[in-house]
């Protein structure tokens, strides 16, 4: 099925891809040509074509992270032509389609860049810093069993909706990649906001934000200067308002908590 645009012509493209053997070695940009790319292909399917070609020739395929290819797992993370997840806003790399490009284009493909996201190989980076931030407090401390009935504490729809919007963060790291400071505050703020909004999260509200921010700083992410690149590039539209909430929660926690250290 030729998708919606049966007249779309296949494209030939030049790719400039970051190649790096592993964390310890230096990398460089390598040029490749791909031919007969259908506009209905996804960006990653275009890379599949390149990789099949490289493998057949006995070359090393380009390593990149991906999995669900439907924009929800947060695995894919390419910096395409100077933009996190490429030129289309509100879109993960896997949902970017080649119809956004034109025949003859040169496309520069790089990994996320941040000291806290070291490169594993080629375009694959290590985002475990995000996991460690969640481990520092991005949860409600309830053991399995013994939870009260789901309807015991009503949550106004507006609050539930706002919590949901913050909770949709897919943890891809585009916010860090796009930010000129490599700041992780949009990511951290999304989780802090979600749990600060919901009554279930209130018990640990102060310690949560203190611990998560401390971990965020320890990981070496930069600080937010409110320029908005993160929210502009976030594939799921996490809003900058969350960062204001994070700041507010942090200040309130520091001012009021009994934690002296």
């Amino acid at each position: 099925m030729a998708g919606s645009n049966p007249n779309a012509k296949p494209m030939n493209l030049t790719l400039k891809v970051w190649r790096q053997k592993n964390r310890a070695t230096a990398g460089q940009v390598v040029d490749y040509n791909v031919r007969d790319i259908s506009p209905d292909m996804s960006f990653l399917e275009m890379l599949d074509v390149l990789n099949e070609d490289l493998l057949r020739k006995g070359d090393d395929p380009v390593a990149f992270d991906h999995d669900c290819r439907e924009g929800i797992c947060g695995s894919c993370n390419l910096f395409i032509n100077g933009r996190a997840h490429g030129p289309e806003s509100g879109t993960t790399t896997c949902q970017l389609h080649m119809r956004k490009f034109s025949d003859g284009d040169t496309i520069v493909i790089e990994p996320w860049r941040a000291n806290s996201f070291p490169v594993n190989k080629d375009l694959s980076v290590d985002r475990s810093a995000f996991d460690r931030i969640i481990q520092a407090g991005g949860y409600v401390s309830v053991n399995t069993g013994g939870a009260p009935d789901g309807n015991e504490i009503p949550v106004p729809k507006e609050i539930a909706d706002r919590a949901f919007e913050a909770a949709t963060c897919i943890g891809c790291g585009a916010c860090v990649a796009a930010c000129k400071n490599a700041s992780a505050m949009l990511f951290v703020s999304a989780k802090v906001s979600q749990l600060a909004l919901l009554p279930q999260g209130h018990a640990e509200r102060a310690t949560r934000v203190e611990n998560m921010v401390a971990q965020m700083d320890k990981e070496g992410f930069g600080a937010c200067t409110n320029i908005g690149s993160c929210a502009a590039e976030c594939p799921v539209g996490i809003s900058l308002e969350n960062i204001a909430t994070l700041n507010r929660e942090f200040l309130a926690a520091k001012a009021s908590s009994n934690n002296l250290s």
Binding site: M1, A2, G3, P6, N22, S38, M41, S42, L44, E45, E52, L55, R56, G58, D59, D60, P61, A63, D67, C68, R69, E70, G71, I72, C73, S75, G90, Q95, H97, R99, N120, S124, R127, S128, D131, I134, Q135, G138, Y139, V140, S141, V142, N143, T144, G145, A147, G150, N151, P154, V155, P156, K157, A160, F164, A167, T168, I170, G171, L198, Q200
Partner: protein, 646 residues
């Protein structure tokens, strides 16, 4: 020699079985729990929930995922919702009704006791998730909202817009993260399990490959839980994520765990159709869309031909020229018939020549009515993210023209055979979630996969594994036993073998070829003749794989082609077993449709006298026919009838 399987179903009336069993299982003394190590492989809903809950109890858990983070498991992609028998809507739901719907929806090929327990604990899942901060949809008054789903006439599905799986997984991930922070779970990311280690007939560990360094590692524990998902990717194209694979389950199978009902695969009716050869995966459009979308094709082949040629647009086809075939054939359930029925009917329409899209392999899912009735804004509130995703992929606007959909492989009901305790035929080896076979019979109802994964992980395995551990001495287990060295050497040898073939065809090339065979002959409709043909072809393909595979790079680095090759090698064996199973089952039921066994109106025709059993296959050696073991299914609480959704 085949044996009768003991499913260890507790005695007593259905409603008391689980309560009684929980009382009868042996307990591990709280002070002793920290002396036991448990390995959990996979950190999706089933694995993440199990790892967190077991750690909360005090066991030392080692959790493994091949992803870079537990938050990436494919549970995250589930869209529509999770069922629970809460009866919050006062519309007549109950534990029994959820049980009944699930058994009936599964076309009477599921184990009653397991399904009843699933329905019982479904209510606890919702409570647990709410307590974790999962932002379920709410009504204005602040109470939880519900929607209806295929195969049910009550509204019992809890949801978080079109991202329910994501929110539930992040809930389990947060619980898991908390235990990692406490040091009770040691998390191994980017580690792929490549074998189970059996010591004296019991599962005592696993062998993994570190995907970044290529290092082969040995891990020991008192018990091993596999929560490694389904094997839908055997078809190459499916709604599963790219990494989803059968390797862990298949390795366990080759170490003695029986594989049950492998031919029971679910074809989901509402997926975005294939657009070209390069296609790497298929994208699901949530079943919840069938609540408001109407499925149709043109009434005549001529009209359909015009649509295919692009001479006429679907929105310009008059009402009288449309065939809303599900509403016509199933007036009671209409567009909400179970998935297998909806899929098969879509295929029938296309086979008749009334399919749409340029390949003719699609039907329409139309929202014009609901948009007219409630406005585009209200529709966007409900389905906005799905509509956006559709538009992104197809470059078509579903607000102004009907979606094109076609069935695609989505879920596998078959899996490792487990007893009531979720233990496989290997003592100490457990299987949870989609990885096991237990709860969905021959067809799974929508919004039940999340329910089963979390039920197994949060509420079943924490009890049943204790029963096993209590009977195991709390002595440390190590990787000293020669069985570990042997398993490690085997894994190493296999990796080396793959690296050294140096042929011409890539892993993807073999995978596509296998997928094509499976879809063609073991897909939505199967025949004995086709299956026999497929068996021969798969064997040929497997031989070719081991002599003509092309890889590059080395083993001691991130090598995604090598990872893929290992998975394809296992799919090539599993695929044959699926064909064997489909060939053995001379009936049609649920997702398994044999053209030879159909009613006059083309519905699946079961043969309860001969096939009301679980087919549990036993591996006996490479290239030898597997042995069929049967678990007879007993239905004490429902009457077996021809399913009718009319």
């Amino acid at each position: 020699m085949s044996m009768i399987l003991d499913s260890k179903i507790p005695e007593g009336p259905r409603a008391e079985k689980w309560e009684k069993h929980k009382f009868n299982v042996k307990l591990v003394n709280p002070a002793n729990k920290r002396k036991y190590d448990v390995i959990v492989v996979g950190t999706g809903l089933a694995g993440g929930a199990a790892a967190a809950s077991l750690a909360e109890l005090g066991y030392n858990v080692k959790a493994f995922t091949y992803h870079d983070s537990p938050r990436r498991a494919h549970s995250i992609a589930a869209q529509g919702g999770i069922n629970a028998a809460k009866n919050y809507q006062n519309d007549g739901d109950s534990v029994f009704r959820l049980f009944y719907d699930t058994i009936k929806g599964g076309d009477y090929r599921a184990r009653e006791a397991n399904v009843y327990r699933l329905a019982q604990v479904s209510v606890n899942i919702i409570d647990q998730c709410v307590a974790q901060g999962v932002p379920f949809a709410r009504e204005y008054g602040g109470l939880l909202a519900n929607r209806s789903f295929g195969g049910a006439q009550v509204s019992r599905t809890f949801y978080a817009r079109g991202q329910t799986g994501q929110q539930l997984l992040l809930g389990a991930y947060s619980a898991l993260s908390r235990q990692i922070a406490y040091g009770k779970v040691k998390m191994y990311t980017r580690s792929e399990m490549l074998d189970v280690v059996i010591v004296d007939g019991q599962a005592r560990g696993i062998i993994t490959r570190n995907l970044i360094t290529g290092e082969i590692e040995k891990h020991a524990a008192h018990a091993v839980v596999l929560a490694t998902g389904g094997y839908g990717n055997v078809f190459y194209l499916s709604t599963n994520a790219m990494y989803c694979n059968a390797t862990a389950a298949w390795r366990a199978h080759k170490k003695g765990a029986y594989f049950a009902n492998p031919c029971f695969t679910q074809i989901h009716p509402t997926c975005i159709p294939v657009s070209g050869d390069y296609q790497s995966k298929l994208t699901l459009m949530s079943e919840s869309l069938r609540n408001d979308g109407r499925v149709w094709v043109p009434k005549t082949v001529e009209m359909a031909e015009k649509v295919r040629q692009g001479q006429i647009k679907p929105q310009d086809i008059a009402e009288d020229d449309r065939d809303y075939f599900l509403e016509r054939k199933y007036p009671a359930f209409g567009n909400l018939v179970p998935r297998d029925v909806a899929s098969r009917n879509a295929k029938m329409m296309c086979d008749e020549g009334r399919g749409v899209g340029s390949t003719g392999l699609a039907v329409y899912l139309d929202f014009a009515d609901i948009i007219k009735r409630t406005g585009a804004d209200a529709v966007s509130q409900k389905y906005g993210n799905l509509f956006d995703m559709y538009a992104k992929i197809t470059d078509e606007d579903p607000y102004t023209q009907p979606m094109r959909i076609y069935p695609a492989v989505h879920y596998t009901m078959g899996g490792l055979w487990v007893d009531y305790n979720l233990q496989t035929t290997v003592p100490g080896l457990y299987a949870t979630g989609e990885c096991n076979f237990s709860d969905h019979g021959a067809n799974r109802l929508g919004a039940s996969a999340l329910m089963q994964g979390l039920a197994d992980g949060y509420f079943v395995i924490p009890y049943t594994i204790g029963d096993y551990l209590a009977q195991t001495p709390p002595k440390p287990v190590t990787t000293e036993n020669p069985a570990f060295a042997q398993a490690e050497a085997d894994v190493r040898g296999r990796v080396q073998k793959l690296m050294s073939i140096n042929g011409t065809r890539t892993p993807d090339d073999f995978h596509k070829h296998l997928g094509h065979l499976m879809w063609e002959y073991c897909g939505m409709a199967r025949t004995a003749e086709g299956l026999k043909h497929a068996k021969v072809e798969i064997q040929k393909l497997r031989k070719e794989f081991w002599s003509d595979l092309k890889l590059s790079g080395s083993n001691d680095e991130l090598n995604q082609a090598l990872e893929k090759a290992g998975r394809v090698a296992d799919f090539l064996e599993l695929g044959e077993l699926m064909v064997d199973d489909a060939l053995n089952r001379n009936e049609s039921c649920g997702g398994h449709f044999r053209e030879e066994y159909a009613t006059e109106d083309g519905e699946a025709k079961r043969n309860d006298d001969e096939y009301a059993y679980v087919a549990a296959w036993q591996y006996v050696g490479d290239n030898q026919p597997e042995i069929l073991n049967k678990e007879e299914l007993h239905f004490e609480n429902v009457k077996l009838t021809q399913r009718s959704y009319k």
